[in-house]
Symmetry: C2
Subunit: 145 residues, 2 copies
DNA sequence: GATATTCCGAGTGGAATAGTAGGGTATAGA
DNA sequence: TCTATACCCTACTATTCCACTCGGAATATC
């Protein structure tokens, strides 16, 4: 019961884009370098992020990616769900395919999974990339380098 | 990012034990029958549940399992963590092994994962097996069969 | 001592994860 | 127009994890 690397690195990568939001595009190679991570794999993730319209791209030299909208308008939840699909703590509740258990009508546990889903979504939908930027700014006060 | 079958079926199985709490032990075969599930696999789970002292066992004919304490004293969180390990939405935060990312000191996302962990735990730690019993009782009012 | 049950460890097929690899396409700048 | 730089796309692969299954030993009841 865990986020895969996609969600984890996806949020980090989107944060890099947020840092660069005012400056225009940034290339995958640069992001990969900053994150110290495989650019080929990041590339795949960005294909998805683009499909979900969270980023825009520009080809050729000086090309790269950019957030499609203001960092304050993109939540961590948007990023995670784009890369990992809808949150479903238990496979029987919450998702897209939502396989239908024949006992769901009177299942005593169904409610629990729904509550967990809601609580996860509530957390990740209330943190924007802009929030992360602010946090970073604040935490730098009184810090070296 | 999902509970495995262990957590899902574990809670259901423990609920069966809760239903039977006043009557003494119940065998894995019976539980498997009621849940319409593989008894060999349930067996494995019960080994873990016993190791974590959530159930007690008795061998031989008329043997079986029983909750180690009152249904009100066992939370869904106890069961899930026993079977799946500690809740860690992201692998870098919250767990036992807790692999140490070299950037964790100033990682902007670490906080998010901690918040998610907390919110999940809060939900599952506030629902006891006793609660599930009560819910079932109430939902039976006005219901056929 | 026959039978029902828990206990224990090993094995296995399939799916998902976490990538690699390699070629194609657009475009900025010389 | 050429070339280097970037995105774009599809396929492949090694490893790990999941969801079991199986066989047999230990133990308790009648």
């Amino acid at each position: 019961m865990r986020l895969s690397t996609k969600g984890r690195y996806g949020v980090m990568a989107m944060y890099q884009l947020a840092l660069n939001y005012e400056n225009g595009t940034i290339s995958i190679k640069d992001i990969a370098q900053k994150m110290d991570y495989s650019d080929a794999y990041l590339e795949q993730m960005f294909a998805t992020l683009k499909k979900e319209r969270l980023v825009t791209s520009h080809r050729g030299p000086k090309g790269g990616y950019r957030l499609s909208k203001d960092p304050d308008k993109i939540t961590v939840g948007d990023v995670i769900r784009a890369l990992e699909g809808p949150i479903e703590f238990s496979s029987c509740v919450g998702g897209s395919e939502n396989y239908n258990c024949d006992k769901s009508g009177f299942c005593v546990t169904k409610d629990i999974w729904e509550q967990v889903n809601d609580s996860i979504n509530q957390v990740i939908d209330n943190i924007t990339l802009g929030d992360l930027l602010n946090k970073n700014k604040n935490s730098k006060i009184g810090q070296r380098s």
